[in-house]
């Protein structure tokens, strides 16, 4: 399993793996929004939590089809399915690799983008905490969506249509944590709900993902 994780990470980091595309997308979004709504710091500070969360969500979405597509094409997914390691575990590892190459960099770069959007000073901690808690859920839910659409020829748009509604609860609670943090309110409730969603998704969704992968591979 560690070998699988290392293999996925190497594939993502080396040339053609697309590592960094998500980050670049996140950055472009943070540049486009002020260009679209105007440079007033008050307005930007007000919408920054939502923009940063939506940006992280879209950047995550962008890289989802890579999770299984290449392995499906060259047949290594069939090998994984017949390997002694249960497919559920392999799916979890793939989600983890996706998070390490997409979610974690987003978490790390988000304070810089918060600076660009005049995010209030008190909110930085909560931005990092909420993204660190929420992006694993995005990766796991996205893995389920990628597993659903793996065999399809033009799965990209369909994948977005399937996954984005599933992202709604995570987005609502994640952005709420940051906005409450920015206003200096207590963040316990949305933070606990966000953590609950992540824990539930990580615990249950790999089984659903493995099930639909088996259907797609038969």
């Amino acid at each position: 399993m560690i070998a699988l994780l290392m293999r996925d990470l190497r594939l993502a980091f080396r040339a053609g793996g697309g590592f960094g595309l998500g980050l670049a997308f996140f950055l472009i979004l943070a540049v486009l929004v002020p260009l679209g709504v105007g440079p007033e710091p008050q307005i930007l500070a007000r919408i920054a939590p939502g923009i940063l969360w939506v940006g992280a969500l879209l950047a995550c979405l962008l890289s989802l089809d890579r999770i299984f597509a290449l392995d499906f094409e060259d047949g290594s997914l069939d090998l994984l399915a017949t390997a002694p390691v249960p497919l559920e575990a392999a799916v979890s590892i793939k989600a983890l690799a996706h998070w390490l190459t997409t979610g974690l960099p987003l978490v790390l770069i988000s304070p810089v983008l918060g600076l660009l959007l005049f995010l209030p000073g008190e909110a930085y901690v909560w931005l990092i905490v909420s993204l660190a808690l929420g992006t694993p859920a995005l990766s796991v839910i996205g893995t389920f969506g990628a597993a659903l659409t793996v065999g399809l020829k033009r799965g990209g748009l369909l994948l977005s249509l399937l996954v984005l509604p599933l992202y709604i609860p995570t987005l609502v609670f994640g952005a709420e944590v940051v906005s409450r943090g920015a206003m200096g309110l207590a963040v316990d409730t949305p933070l606990a709900l966000l953590a609950g969603i992540t824990a539930g998704a990580v615990a249950i969704l790999p089984f659903a993902s493995a099930h639909v992968l088996r259907i797609n591979l038969r």
Partner: protein, 243 residues
Amino acid sequence: MASFWEYANPLKFMRTSDWLLPIVAVAALVVTATGLIWGFFFTPDDFRQGSTVKIVFLHVPAAMMAINAWVMMLVASLVWLIRRHHVSALAAKAAAPVGLVMTLIGLITGAVWGQPMWGTWWAWDPRLTSFLILFLFYLGYIALWSAIDDPDTGADLTAVLCLVGSVFAVLSRYAANFWNQGLHQGASLSVAPGTRMDWAYKAPLYTCMVGFGLIFLTLVLAGTRTEIRARRMKALVTRERMA
């Protein structure tokens, strides 16, 4: 007494629905027409809302069926996943577009009602928002069905999507509640004492709800029959080609 599971046999299902469908269709037409005419022309105007209140006879039944259709799809998906009855998967497939349209009717009549009452076509109210989200779930479900060629794979994948989607739809409902306080009134009908609606409205409203339920049943039966026939046709064409 015949078991419900006999209808898992497509032949049996076709034979029964053959005589059942016209009866249900006529009943749906009669009951809905009665309810709507009664509601639109033979109920008094509300003392505050005037005659705009009468859109309730479309709005509430449609909204109810939008949710019930999803629940029916959930049950049918479970039956397919557990007992592998093809009729069940096809019924879930047939129910999705009906549910989608019911959601749309709920949203549109709500907008038409909200314009004079709240002064706005749309508000980011939890109920409205969760209905829009339900609409997106229906779209995703239908899109997945239409994207997959192999019928059994399609049935399996959409069934799992329906299960996972149901969990997230409920979560979204609570997320939306948490996210914003609403303009929308509370439940129109309630079994709690001190109900909010007079019988002059409630009787036609119940009639409309039954009528919409019958319409749903009619459309799902017809849709399932179409799907079964399409399958048969496919099998015949394949056999022809093999010969």
